[in-house]
């Protein structure tokens, strides 16, 4: 249950070359402990670069990353320890699978931590359960799994390190609606039962609205908005302006507002919309 804090963080792609691009620009951000934070932004907004700062895969050119108040780059030689504390599930993580069996693959992280065999075994089973992976699959080759199962095996590989902060970059990309719902339900269940800090990166506003308590909106390498769901969606016109795909019901509400109906864009779930409409109909 740790807190991540970024202070005035900047990062350049291709630093020192003529193609230098400022990917992150003076980011000040607190990822609050013990809740799910959603990181939203379209491609190129810097969100995927930002998550690689969280666990020290990239080193900031300016500013600091603080994990429980300690600068993670204080001792660069021990940066690997930070990666065990801040677990990062990359986009399309199934390409990281390589072992003979799913169990061995999930054990890769814990083994790198230098844990004992018994401890590893316990963690693998625990992680597989959290990721919603059937026990019978543990002895199979990861290459024989279906797409959705591979995704879960890869997520389990990170959970098995028991990170204090779990970061997932587009965990449901490319999955069908059922697959998406299952992955997100597992993440929520994991967060609730372990109380860990979780960060989900996505460009699906509908998913973000459904699963995240706290939201951070990025655009052009900067954090343009942060706050709780209601606050962020109360400014849905602004979200739409920066090219984000706002939920369909929010779009509907904005449209109705244009047509003169007394409503606003702060509605982002069907339940809220039903409630609002019933009120308008006077029922």
């Amino acid at each position: 249950m740790s807190e991540l804090k970024l202070e005035n963080l900047s990062y350049f792609h291709g630093k020192g070359t003529p193609y230098e691009i400022k990917a992150l620009d003076g980011i000040d951000l607190v990822i609050p402990r013990g809740m799910i934070t959603g990181l939203i932004g379209h491609t190129g907004s810097g969100k995927s670069t930002l998550v690689q700062m969280f666990n020290g895969l990239l080193r900031p050119d300016e500013g600091r990353v603080l994990l429980d108040g300690v600068d993670i780059w204080e001792k660069p030689k021990t940066i690997r320890q930070v990666r065990f504390r801040v677990g990062l599930v990359m986009q399309y993580p199934e390409y990281q699978l390589f072992e003979e069996t799913v169990a061995k693959d999930i054990a890769f992280g814990p083994r790198n931590m230098g844990l004992g065999e018994e401890e590893i075994r316990v963690r693998v089973e625990e992680a597989a359960a959290f990721a919603g992976l059937d026990r019978a699959l543990l002895d199979k080759s990861p290459f024989d799994l279906s797409g959705g199962q591979k995704r879960r095996a890869a997520i389990a590989g990170i959970i098995a390190m028991r990170p204090e902060v779990l970061v997932l970059d587009e965990p449901a990309a490319g999955l069908d609606p059922r697959g998406r719902d299952e992955i997100f339900a597992n993440i929520v269940r994991y967060q609730e039962s372990t109380g860990s800090t979780v960060v989900i990166v996505s460009h699906s506003m509908e998913d973000m609205a459904r699963y995240c308590d706290n939201l951070v909106v990025m655009n052009g390498g900067k954090v343009v908005m942060q706050g709780d769901r209601d606050y962020i969606f109360s400014r849905s016109e602004r979200l739409s302006e920066i090219g984000l795909d706002i939920p369909q019901v929010t779009r509907l509400m904005l449209r109705l507002k244009e047509m003169g109906v007394e409503t606003d864009g702060g509605i982002y779930t069907v339940e809220q919309a039903v409630e609002k409409m019933l009120k308008l109909y006077g029922r």
């Binding site: 279906s146 490319g174 984000l244 019901v249 047509m259």
Partner: protein
């Protein structure tokens, strides 16, 4: 019904496997798709929708049943190589992973690949390539390297490559699944335009409801069978049925259903926010 373009009769497919209990991916599927139609094929992963697409383009051979394209039986074993090529030319296919379908190191060379294979004269290829690129809004990228493009741009190049073969029909096999919302919109805009303006028959395999909503007709597959077949409005009415097979309906459709259950008279179906807003406005005005 328009003139049929593709017709399947009791089409079945079973993956070859030692496991005899392995269920059939497709079971006795009989569908007719008309010329110029825009059909979305919906289904969760494993519903057989991708297999269906691959059977239409002879990437797979059915284990039972027949497929007719413009009245010609393409499951006939005695088809000559020329006939196979002619069929593939008419039925283009765009795949899921944009990186794995571009062949050349320069955009325009890639678009030229299909016509080159067909032995089209050089000048004609040049004309088709320029036209296809401009149709997809990619003319400015003609001499770029594909790997530097965004996902949506790569898919548009892939579509241009098919378009340059002058197809009658394009099958999109989950071509937007790996794209971000911007890329998805780019591709969908192109797909709709090709269908509406060029009259190209479109068969769109997808699991995005909002994309399926753009089609003239939706076919929902489940367990290798047709579960629903009809207009988007009609198909989305069956909310419970869709949910039972792992699919969802667009938020607006769901809202209308819920309001109707609460006793609010809303006539007609709705799929898009604009449509939904009109519907609600009309009924609100009536109430007042």
């Amino acid at each position: 019904m328009k003139e049929p373009f593709v017709e399947t009769r009791e089409l079945s497919y079973r993956y070859e496997s030692a496991d005899a209990a392995e269920p059939r991916v497709l079971r006795d599927l009989s569908v007719t798709i008309g010329k110029g139609e825009f059909v979305a094929v919906l289904g969760h992963n494993g519903s057989g929708k991708s297999t269906f697409a691959k059977l239409l383009n002879m990437i797979l051979t059915p284990t039972g049943g027949k497929v007719f394209v413009m009245g010609k039986d393409i499951t006939d074993e005695n088809m000559t190589d020329e006939e196979v090529l002619a069929l593939r030319k008419r039925m283009g296919m765009v795949f899921q992973n944009p990186d794995n379908q571009l062949v050349a190191t320069i955009v325009e060379d890639d678009v030229a690949f299909g016509p080159e294979n067909l032995g089209v004269p050089s000048k004609e290829i040049r004309r088709r390539v320029d036209e296809a690129l401009s149709e997809l809004g990619m003319s400015d990228y003609a001499t770029h390297e594909p790997h530097r493009l965004s996902g949506g741009q790569k898919q548009r190049v892939a579509i241009a490559g098919i378009l340059a073969m002058l197809p009658d029909c394009i099958i999109f096999d989950e071509s937007t699944a790996m794209l971000d919302p911007v890329g998805r919109k780019e591709v969908m805009d192109a797909v709709v335009r090709l269908n509406r303006e060029k009259g190209i028959t479109v068969i769109m395999i997808t699991h995005y409801m909002e994309e399926a909503a753009l089609a003239d007709r939706i076919i929902v597959l489940n367990d290798g069978r047709v579960l629903l077949d009809g207009s988007p409005e009609a198909v989305f009415e069956e909310e419970a049925l869709l949910r039972s097979c792992g699919l969802a309906v667009p938020q607006c459709t769901e809202l209308v259903h819920r309001l109707r259950e609460a006793g609010i008279p809303l006539d007609g179906a709705c799929v898009f926010p604009e449509q939904c807003a009109e519907l609600i406005m009309k009924s609100l005005n009536k109430e007042r």
